[in-house]
Amino acid sequence: MTKLDIRDLVIAHGKNTILTDITLGSFAPGSVVGVLGPNGVGKSSFLRSLAGLAPYGGSVTLDGDENRKLSHNQRARKVAYLPQTLPQATNLVAYEAVISACRAVRHDLPHDHVEELAERVFDRLNIRHIAFQPLNRMSGGQRQMVGLAQILVREPDIMLLDEPTSALDLRWQLGVLDVVRNLVKDKQGLALIALHDINLAMRHCDTLILFGEGGVLSHGTPDTAMTPDILSRAYHVEGRIETCSQGSPFIIVDGLDKRSAANNLQGD
């Protein structure tokens, strides 16, 4: 399995440094890692840097090889990145979109094998019913599922998913994250998933990385990385951590913290 290692990572937009001194080391095989943080803190930039789509300082290695030195194709064979945007609404049916995604990376694979992989991913995600529907006649949620299928079809070692459930309803959100989690566990791979829904992250992720302004605010298992104090520091809200009937921790938000509430009142 491919090993990802992150040390002294610095991410900047031009002269504006967004994240600095990020050292996460390597991740245990079979880990699902939630990437959390308020809007604009750099979650997407972090994932894009790991995917080799944005410049970075410091060191990101894949099996010891520096990420930025790998060719596009070498990297794509190990790492699959799902962008935050939905796939374009084009006149391409879902099945074609999925096999073309697989073929673009692995043009050496036999045709039968690509068909097998495609069949498997349509079943995994339960989207056979839209396999021959063009993307320009799909809802946003359906297009997001096709985007995911394009990533999962390659059965990559490392998945970088930027808000993969943003256009999905509750049932599909849970279903998709279950599929990702099962795939990661089966392959002993790694998934880093940027999410806005903290409860979804706490339920499905083994590890959370919470970004605050400029760097990592907390990093660890859901119950250690997310406390009422950290929640207040990251999002400026007051909340409690409870345990659901399934044993997963979840957050109940009581409202904005005192400072944000005062700012809002002043704004009024």
């Binding site: 945007t85 084009t90 099945y95 995604a101 339960n126």
Partner: protein, 356 residues
């Protein structure tokens, strides 16, 4: 999610089998397009002031000695080159337009968008006005050489600017549009200083015509087409992946900037070679890909051949019409192309909407 569906998935026909049926329909429609192209080509050869039958033409092509000397000249030196050049130029422009619309992610993109046609016009205008034949250049090729140089110059200029500022879709299209305006102004300036004969020649050139078709020109355009086609075939998966969006394609390991550069270079060469012999034929590169997209979707394994066939058919049908409207007079193909292409395009667009 997987558990809910396993039973249903086993019962349903495999997606690969369903996809084969889906592909069969696409191949069926590609065959229909091919038959339409061959039909328009044959009718194009038959049609003209001298009356030829279908049997005469087919028999003559198989066995030239079956035709009289005069008929051989008509078939092999006039009708066939004219009909073949129409198909090849149309196919070339269809291919160029399809690739450009994909890499620029813009359904309005065509070789005209990047100013290639306008640059060719500038080159031709310079050749016409400044009469370079007195410098020992071959007379029949002076205008094509200058038009080709102009078109290729435009594509290199855009490549250079895009290289300096980053070859994103927006920068490339913006440079192209800026170039169109600049070149238009230069052509107007040349027209302003041109004498009336030269002015007439420039205007006629901008209307586009296949009238002076020769086997030599066919070999050059056909050679460029055949040279570029394998590179296109090599990129079909990458271009299909690119239709999902630039970030998606990059995440599959496609070097999008490099792909865009290579395709633009290819489009530049194809368009430059095509228009240098015919003058401006702008509509095919825009509408051919649209027709293919409506009929075959955007899997480039079908979209590209569809666009080639659609382009070839449009120009073949246009050239046939250009000599049929007024007997004995050939209306410039650039004009007829638009007059035929627009209704055809609208019919397809509306029928797609109705099915939608």
């Amino acid at each position: 999610m997987r558990d809910q569906t396993t039973g249903a998935a086993n019962a349903a026909p495999s997606l690969a089998r369903q996809y084969r049926a889906f592909v069969f329909k696409r191949i069926f429609w590609l065959t229909i397009f091919l038959i339409a192209l061959i039909t328009s080509f044959i009718v194009n050869v038959i049609t003209g002031p001298a009356i030829l039958s279908f049997g005469d033409v087919v028999g003559g092509i198989i066995d030239p000695d079956s035709l009289s000397g005069a008929m051989q000249v008509i078939v092999f030196d006039v009708r066939l080159p004219f009909a073949v050049l129409a198909v090849i130029i149309g196919a070339t422009l269809g291919l160029a337009g399809a690739e450009l619309q994909t890499v620029l992610n813009n359904p309005l993109a065509s070789p005209s968008t990047l100013g290639i046609m306008h640059a060719a016009t500038l080159g031709a205008s310079v050749a016409i006005v400044f009469q370079f034949d007195q410098y020992g250049l071959p007379e029949n090729y002076i205008i094509p050489i200058f038009a080709f140089a102009g078109a290729l110059g435009a594509i290199f200029l855009i490549q250079m600017l895009a290289g300096l500022y980053g070859a994103t879709v927006d920068t490339v299209v913006l440079f192209g549009i800026a170039l169109v305006f600049a070149l238009d102004a230069l052509v107007s300036l040349i027209q302003f200083v041109a004498d009336s004969d030269s002015l007439q020649q420039i205007v006629f050139w901008t209307m586009g015509s296949l009238a002076r078709a020769t086997w030599e020109k066919i070999a050059i355009v056909g050679g460029a087409f055949l040279f570029c086609l394998p590179f296109t075939i090599r990129h079909v998966w990458k271009m299909t992946a690119l239709r999902g969006g630039e970030d998606y394609a990059k995440s599959y390991g496609v070097s999008v900037e490099r792909l865009r550069m290579l395709v633009m270079l290819r489009v530049g060469v194809l368009t430059a070679v095509a228009v240098s012999f015919t003058g401006v034929i702008g509509f095919v590169g825009l509408v051919g890909p649209h027709i293919a997209r409506l009929a075959f979707g955007e899997d480039h394994r079908y979209y590209i051949p569809g666009s080639i066939l659609a382009g070839g058919f449009i120009l073949s049908a246009a050239s046939l019409t250009s000599k049929s409207i007024v007997p004995g007079i050939m209306i410039p193909d650039g004009i007829v192309t638009a007059l035929i292409g627009i209704p055809l395009f609208l019919v397809l667009l509306l029928s797609q909407k109705r099915r939608g």
